[in-house]
């Protein structure tokens, strides 16, 4: 009956309620997916803060914790969850017996020892939240993190300078100059993007081996100064969008070719340059295959990635150290990402949409 008396009212309210329910449902769904998605990160953080003892104790809490201890008459005793008449008490186990034991109540020591019937081995130990940071210190020192970091930064900075400056020059050439066969050349640029690097690797490696560069960083850094296809593509796309009127005006004023490139084009292409810089920086930071083959046998030069892989081999059973080392290696990229995420994501979108 209500539906008939106020049909208008109801149809006006219903979509609103439905919208709100929709928002609640969809936002919760996204939150749940995000939660599952980031679960491994949670595991890594929690595990990195646990002691070896906790890791090897079955049934220990999921968060970093240590067993609660209680000092009684000069000695420390472990605290257990003891069920008595349907209530659970946290009592310290003083005298262990097979079928019956004696406990002390930390809240009420004056009451003396409490006898308890039952097997203490069936009881759960009581834990308290207690993160240990020493895993990070140990991982940091064992892996010689400062040296790995130094190598990685050296590689990332130098190769990024090479990659960005060379790609900018080449992209400018492609964007602004009429060269016969430019279309074909640009197709070759595109082809190098999808060319599997393995097909050129072996002769390159043999060559660098011949001139004695295997075991140094140079085979990884020098080629970056000759512009890679992906960066050329991205920058050219951006340069094409800069109005030609500006450089034409500068030409009339007598500016040289490099001057136009440097003072007119580059300042306007700042977002694209930043994106390429970030891409290459992260590429270098993550690079594993190149350092693995070119630096093999020269651990003093290893970057973080290769060092971390070696660390994993040495500490197979000690997941707390492995997780601490992994998280340490992720800190700098994550910080850079949080500060530069707009530029970074914009760059991703530029490359994807234009293809």
């Amino acid at each position: 009956m209500a539906a008939m008396t106020a049909p208008n009212n109801r149809s006006r309210l219903a979509p609103k309620t439905r919208d709100r329910l929709n928002v609640i449902f969809m936002t919760s769904l996204t939150t749940i997916i995000l939660f599952i998605f980031l679960l491994p990160l949670g595991y890594g953080i929690m595990t990195s803060l646990k002691t070896d003892t906790q890791i090897s104790t079955a049934g220990s809490p999921w968060y970093p914790a240590s067993p609660i201890l209680f000092e009684y008459e000069g000695r420390e005793y472990e605290v257990y969850d003891v069920p008595v008449d349907g209530n659970t008490f946290q009592w310290a186990l003083v005298n262990k017996g097979r079928e019956a034991s004696e406990f002390i109540d930390p809240q009420n020591v004056g009451a003396g020892l409490i006898p308890w019937e039952g097997r203490w081995r069936t009881l759960d130990q009581a834990w308290e939240f207690d993160p240990v940071w020493s895993n990070f210190v140990e991982a940091w020192n064992t892996i010689n993190f400062p040296r790995l970091l130094g190598n990685t930064v050296f590689y990332a900075v130098l190769s990024t300078i090479g990659a960005v400056s060379s790609a900018a020059l080449v992209a400018y050439g492609f964007a602004r100059y009429d060269i016969p066969g430019k279309g074909t050349l640009f197709l070759i640029v595109m082809a190098t993007i999808i060319l599997p690097p393995m097909v050129t690797l072996i002769p390159t490696y043999a060559f660098f081996n011949q001139i004695g560069w295997v075991g140094t960083w140079w085979p990884l850094i020098i080629p970056q100064f000759f512009a890679n296809g992906y960066n050329i593509f991205l920058l050219r796309q951006f340069f094409l969008g800069i109005p030609r009127a500006l450089d034409e005006a500068a030409t009339i004023d007598g500016a040289s070719h490099f001057r136009i490139f440097w003072s007119i084009i580059l300042p306007q292409a700042r977002p694209a340059l930043l994106a390429v810089t970030l891409f290459h920086f992260f590429f270098a930071w993550n690079d594993f295959f190149g350092p693995l083959i070119y630096l093999a046998g020269n651990p003093d030069l290893y970057p973080i990635t290769v060092g971390l892989n070696g660390f994993k081999g040495l500490y197979e059973g000690q997941d707390n150290l492995i997780q601490a080392a992994s998280l340490t290696s992720a800190i700098i990229p994550l910080i850079v990402f949080f500060f530069a995420q707009r530029a970074f994501i914009q760059g991703v979108v530029i490359t994807g949409v234009d293809k």
Binding site: T30, F37, Y43, W62, G173, Y177, H257, S326
Partner: protein
């Protein structure tokens, strides 16, 4: 890519007009100066090694004993194509893995992009950052973190499944994510999902470029959400999906880091992770068989090329480009 052809045409017409020769020569000269890093690079680091690589495939050349190098003709090729079961197996497992991981990876990226584009999801900026975040974790670290969370005894995944959902997952009789040959591809796929950020953002940009009038019209015609997704959204973003598939497929032909960090390139469990990238590495940089390694590299190149051609050929049937027709 379409932007290339006008340049070519204008070039050719200009070449005919010899009057403007000086300006034009100036253009060419400065153009080549700007292109010079790339021109040198393409010859030194692409063309010569590319051809030399084929030359290497005709040699028996082990870097450990370089003095024993000899020309063997097509022996390496015969070995790879007819006598070495490991070659076929490595391509086989790579394709099998691609068939599992590409669809799951693409579907997940699409799902996230749809959520990031949905009117009814609040806090999108935060969600976007957090979904992108694991992409920034160095892949070696990501593999180690996943290796821990999927550990059969102490990993949270199995502990959650057992203690919260009541599935018997923990232990050697449970879900051995890293050791069970029929689970390992899913494990590798999950690890790959952590790098979903780029694909998600590209797909999202695709979604945002679909004209809203299309949805409004469909709404009026009474089309529901799923109908709109299948008949409007997917076809309209098919170029983006195509781009993701091409890059994903080619990337998988070079798949190396994750299986290598997980088990050192041993193929564990039961050879399921002997992908072509791993096989290439073992031949070339573990056994230093440069001749045979170059042969495998050329095979990888040939298969990638074939794959690209097939994918581009298939594009005609399912990829929709606005403005053509």
């Amino acid at each position: 890519m379409a932007a290339i052809s006008p340049d070519v045409v204008s070039n050719e017409t200009k070449v005919k007009k010899k009057k403007r020769g000086r300006i034009e020569r100036e253009q060419i000269k400065w153009g080549l100066i700007f292109l010079s890093p790339w021109l040198i690079g393409i010859v030194v680091f692409y063309m010569i090694p590319f051809i030399a690589s084929f030359g290497f495939s005709l040699l028996e050349f082990n870097l450990a004993v370089p003095e024993a190098t000899e020309f063997v003709g097509l022996a390496n090729w015969r070995r790879a194509l007819f006598n070495d079961p490991n070659t076929y197996e490595s391509f086989g497992v790579t394709f099998l893995f691609a068939l599992i991981s590409l669809p799951i990876g693409m579907a997940f990226a699409l799902l996230l992009a749809l959520l990031m584009n949905a009117k009814s999801v609040r806090g999108k900026a935060i969600f976007r950052t957090l979904f992108f975040m694991p992409t920034m974790v160095p892949l070696v670290a990501a593999v180690l973190i996943w290796g821990g969370v999927l550990n059969e005894q102490t990993g949270w995944v199995n502990l959650l499944l057992e203690n919260v959902f009541g599935i018997e997952a923990v232990g050697v009789d449970g879900l051995r994510w890293l050791a069970n040959p029929s689970l390992i591809y899913f494990t590798l796929t999950f690890i790959g999902l952590w790098a979903v950020g780029n694909t998600m953002m590209i797909t999202l940009a695709g979604l945002q470029s679909v004209p809203t009038e299309m949805y409004e019209a469909a709404e009026i015609d009474g089309a529901g959400y799923w109908r709109q997704l299948i008949s409007i959204t997917i076809p309209m973003i098919s170029p983006v999906l195509f781009y993701n598939i091409v890059l994903g497929a080619i990337g998988l032909m070079q798949y190396f880091l994750v299986p290598f960090v997980l088990n050192g390139g041993s193929g564990f469990p039961e050879g399921t992770t002997n992908f072509v990238g791993i096989y290439f590495f073992n031949q070339a940089f573990k056994f230093f068989n440069m001749g045979y390694g170059a042969t495998i590299a050329w095979l990888i190149f040939a298969v990638s090329l074939l794959l690209t051609v097939v994918l581009f050929g298939s594009a005609r049937y399912w990829v929709y480009y606005a403005g053509e027709e």
